[in-house]
C-alpha cells in the first residue's frame, strides 16, 4: 500500500497533550453534526399539528438540514484553510444556536425550512469539516484512535439527545425545546475554543515572504488578490480526481452511503413485519446505537496497533464487507432473539466503517490535501445520502418486494464494490 505523499512543510504533530482536548472538542462538534438532524424528528409530530402541514413537508426540514450540511463541505474547508479551525467552529456553533433560537419563534413551515434547514445545516457543515481537519493536524501516530474517539460523538449524542428531547418536549412544548436545544448547540463554541490553532512551522521564511510583499505595496495588493482568487478556485479542486486512490475511495463511499442508511430506516418496519411489537422494534435501533458507541473507539484502537496501521485500507475494506454480509444474512432471521444479534452485528459493522471512513481518507491524501479532499467528498456524498432511503422505499413499491430483498441487493452491491476497492488499493 503506497504511503501518503510526503508534505514539504511537515511539522511534527503533537500526538498527545493538548491534542486530547482537541479530540474532546471534535467529539462534541461531530456529535452535534450527525445527531441533530436525526433527533429533531422527535419534534415533528407536534410541529406538524401546530402548523397544520403534512408529514412529508415537515420531514423535509431534516433533509434540507442534511443537504446543507454536506453541501457546505467545500466552503467550510476553504474557510478553515484561510482562518484556521477555531474561529470556524465557533462561528458554526453560533450559527447553529441562532438557527434553533429563531426557529422557536416560527409560525410557518417555510420559516422553519430556512432557519433550521439552511442556517442550521450551514452551521453544522462548518463544524464537521473543521473538526476533521484539526484532528489531521494534531495527530499522526495516534490518528486512528483520535478519529475513532471523535467519531464516537455521533452515537453518544444520539443516545443522550433522544430521551432528553422527549423530556424537553413534555415539559416545554416544541418551542421551548428548540430554544433550549439552541442553547445546547452553543456548546460547539466551547468545542471551538478548545481547538487551539496549531503553532505554525519555521517563522523566518514567512517573514521574508512578508517583507518582499511589503516592498511592493501596489503590485503586491493585486498579486495577493489574484493569489486569493486562485486559492479560492482551488478548493473545489478537480485535480484531486487525477489521484486513482481518491477516485476509488469516492466511488466506494458513494455506493456505501447509498445503501448504508436504508437498513436503519427500515429496520423497525422489518421487525414489525416479522411479528415483533412496536416497542421492541424501536429498541433494536437503540441497541445498535449503544453498540456503535463502544465499537468506534475500539476500532480506532485496533487500527492504531502496529499490526493493522500499515494495512489500514484492508481493514477498512474488511469492515465494509462485514457490513455487507451482515445485511445479506438478515433475510434469514425470523425470531426476535436473532434480530437482536443482527442489530448488534449491524452496530459493530456500522461503527467500524464510520470510525475508519475519514481516517482512510486522511491516510490516502495526507494532511495537506485532506481539507480539499474532505470538502469534495462531503459534497458528493450528499446525493446518495439523500437519495438512498427514498430509493429503497420506491424499490419496494415497484418490485412489490419486502425489506429482505432490498437488503440483499443493496448489501450485495456495496460489498462487491468494496471488495474491488480493497483489491485495487493493494496495487
Amino acid at each position: 500500500m503506497s504511503p501518503a505523499p510526503a508534505d514539504p512543510l511537515e511539522y511534527k504533530p503533537l500526538d498527545g497533550g493538548w491534542g486530547w482536548m482537541v479530540v474532546i472538542g471534535a467529539h462534541i462538534s461531530i456529535g452535534f453534526a450527525y445527531a441533530t438532524p436525526k433527533v429533531l424528528s422527535i419534534f415533528f409530530n407536534e410541529i406538524q399539528q401546530d402548523l397544520g402541514s403534512s408529514f412529508s413537508e415537515i420531514a423535509l426540514i431534516s433533509s434540507i438540514m442534511l443537504a446543507a450540511m454536506y453541501a457546505g463541505g467545500p466552503v467550510s474547508s476553504a474557510m478553515v484553510n484561510r482562518f484556521g479551525s477555531r474561529p470556524i467552529v465557533m462561528l458554526g456553533g453560533l450559527l447553529c444556536g441562532v438557527s434553533m433560537i429563531t426557529a422557536s419563534f416560527g409560525t410557518s413551515i417555510i420559516y422553519l425550512y430556512f432557519c433550521i434547514g439552511v442556517i442550521g445545516g450551514c452551521g453544522l457543515s462548518l463544524n464537521l469539516n473543521a473538526s476533521l481537519i484539526i484532528i489531521s493536524k494534531y495527530f499522526l501516530k495516534r490518528r486512528p484512535l483520535a478519529n475513532g474517539l471523535a467519531m464516537a460523538g455521533s452515537p453518544v449524542f444520539l443516545c443522550v439527545l433522544a430521551p432528553f428531547n422527549q423530556y424537553l418536549l413534555v415539559n416545554f412544548g416544541w418551542r421551548g425545546s428548540l430554544l433550549i436545544l439552541g442553547g445546547l448547540m452553543l456548546h460547539c463554541c466551547v468545542a471551538g475554543a478548545l481547538m487551539r490553532p496549531v503553532p505554525l512551522p519555521c517563522k523566518p521564511p514567512s517573514y521574508a515572504l512578508e517583507k518582499t510583499v511589503e516592498e511592493q505595496p501596489n503590485s503586491g495588493n493585486t498579486k495577493l488578490k489574484k493569489r486569493f482568487v486562485k486559492n479560492a478556485k482551488k478548493f473545489l479542486d478537480f485535480s484531486l480526481f487525477k489521484d486513482r486512490g481518491f477516485v476509488i475511495y469516492l466511488i466506494g463511499s458513494i455506493m456505501f452511503i447509498f445503501g448504508a442508511y436504508a437498513p436503519i430506516v427500515f429496520l423497525s418496519a422489518y421487525a414489525k413485519s416479522q411479528g415483533v411489537e412496536e416497542y421492541s422494534a424501536a429498541y433494536l435501533l437503540s441497541i445498535m446505537g449503544f453498540v456503535d458507541m463502544f465499537v468506534r473507539p475500539g476500532t480506532g484502537l485496533i487500527a492504531n496497533s502496529k499490526l493493522v496501521r500499515p494495512r489500514i485500507q484492508y481493514f477498512f475494506s474488511f469492515a465494509l464487507v462485514f457490513n455487507g454480509t451482515c445485511h445479506l444474512l438478515c433475510p434469514l432471521i425470523k425470531s426476535y432473539a436473532f434480530l437482536v444479534v443482527y442489530a448488534v452485528f449491524f452496530g459493530i459493522g456500522f461503527g467500524m466503517v464510520f470510525a475508519l471512513i475519514f481516517e482512510c481518507l486522511m491516510d490516502l491524501m495526507g494532511s495537506q490535501r485532506f481539507p480539499r479532499a474532505v470538502g469534495l467528498v462531503t459534497i458528493i456524498e450528499c446525493f446518495p445520502m439523500l437519495l438512498g432511503p427514498p430509493a429503497a422505499g420506491n424499490y419496494t413499491l415497484i418490485m412489490h418486494s419486502t425489506y429482505t430483498d432490498i437488503n440483499q441487493s443493496k448489501s450485495a452491491k456495496h460489498s462487491s464494490v468494496n471488495i474491488e476497492h480493497a483489491l485495487v488499493l493493494c496495487s
Binding site: E46, D50, G173, G176, L179, G183, L186
Partner: protein
Amino acid sequence: MQSMKLQHGMERELCLSVCVIQLWMESATRKLQGDTRAASLLQLKGEGGGLVVLLHDAASRETRKRSSERPAHRGDRGIIIMSAIRKQLSFQILLLFISCRNINTKTLGATAPPLDPTAPLQKLERSYVLKGDSHTEKVELLNPVSLVLMCTWTGSQNKPTNITGFWSKDGKEIENSRVTVQLENKQYNLKRTFSIASEADLGSYSCDFGGEAKINFVLAVPQMGDERDKPIVSYLGDSVVVPCKLDDSKPTPNTWNWYRANETGKEQIIAGQKFSIKNDEKKTKLVIHDLTADDSGLYYCGAVYGVGITMGRVELKVISFFEPLKPFIAILVEVIILVAAILLYEKSRSKKDYTAAGHLGKITDQRRALR
C-alpha cells in the same frame, strides 16, 4: 302521485281527495309547459301545512314570472291567459287546503308527528354459545337498534330438564325476565329483544342460566383509540391546535363535540372568536386563540353516534415564555464562562511560555557574555 295515508275522519278524506285532484291537475298543466320543477314541488309530500307553503311558492313564482314577461307576444298572451286561470285554480286550492287544515287540527291534536313514526328500528342480532362458566362479548353500536340477544348454553355435568334463566342489566335483574328454560338438543336457550334507543340503554346485559352460567354482552359506542397521556404544552398569547382522532377501523361519527372540564362536569364548547372547531370525518381539531392561564386543563372530544357519544381526553398546559427562558439563560451563561476560561487559560500559558523563553534567552546571553 304519492298515496295519501288513511286517517280517521270522513270529511278529512273527502277534503283531501278533492285537494289531491285539483293539485294533480295543477301539476299536469305545469308539466305540459315544461315547468317540471314547480310541478314536482306540488306533489304531495305528507300531511300538514307544508303544502300550503308550496302552493304559495308556486303562486308567487307565477306572479313573478308574469311580471317579467312582456305581454306583446302572441304566445305570451296565451301564457298570460293560462297563468291567470292557473292563478285562480291555485287560489281555490289554497282556500280548500286551509279549510282542510282546520279539520286536520281538530281531529288529530296538537303535536306534529315525527319524521318516520312507524318505521321500525334497525334489527340486530347477537348470539353466543357458551361452553364454560362465563363469557363477555363486546357489541359495538352506532345507531338506535332493536337488538335481539340469544344465549345458548351447553349445560354442566348434570343436565336438569328445566332451569330458571333471567336477564339483568348492569348487575340488576330486569323485571319479569325470569323464565323456565327447557333442555332442547342438549342445550339451553335464552332469547330476548331489547330496544336500544339512547345512551341510557347502553351497558352490560347478561343472561344468566340458573346462577351457574352467565354471558355478558357489553353494549357500547365505538371507543376512542389510545389516549394521549402527555399534555399538550403551549404558551400565553399563542394559539394551539388540540387534535382528536378515531381509529381508521372505527366507523365515522355523525359529528364531533368538544367539552371543557369544569367543577360541575363537562361544559360544551361553542365555536366563536376564541374557539374554532374543524371536523374532518374521523378527525377533529379544536383551535384555541389567545391562550391565557385559565385555558389550562382537561378537554374532551366527543364523537357523536346515533345512540351515544364516545369521549376522548386531552390535557392542555399553558406556560409562560419565561419557563424555558430560564434554563436557556443558564446554559448561555455556562457556555460563556467555559469559553472565557479556556481562552484565558491559553493566554496565561502562552505568556508563561513567552516569559520562560525570554528568561532562557537572557540566561544564555549572559553565559555567552561571561565567556
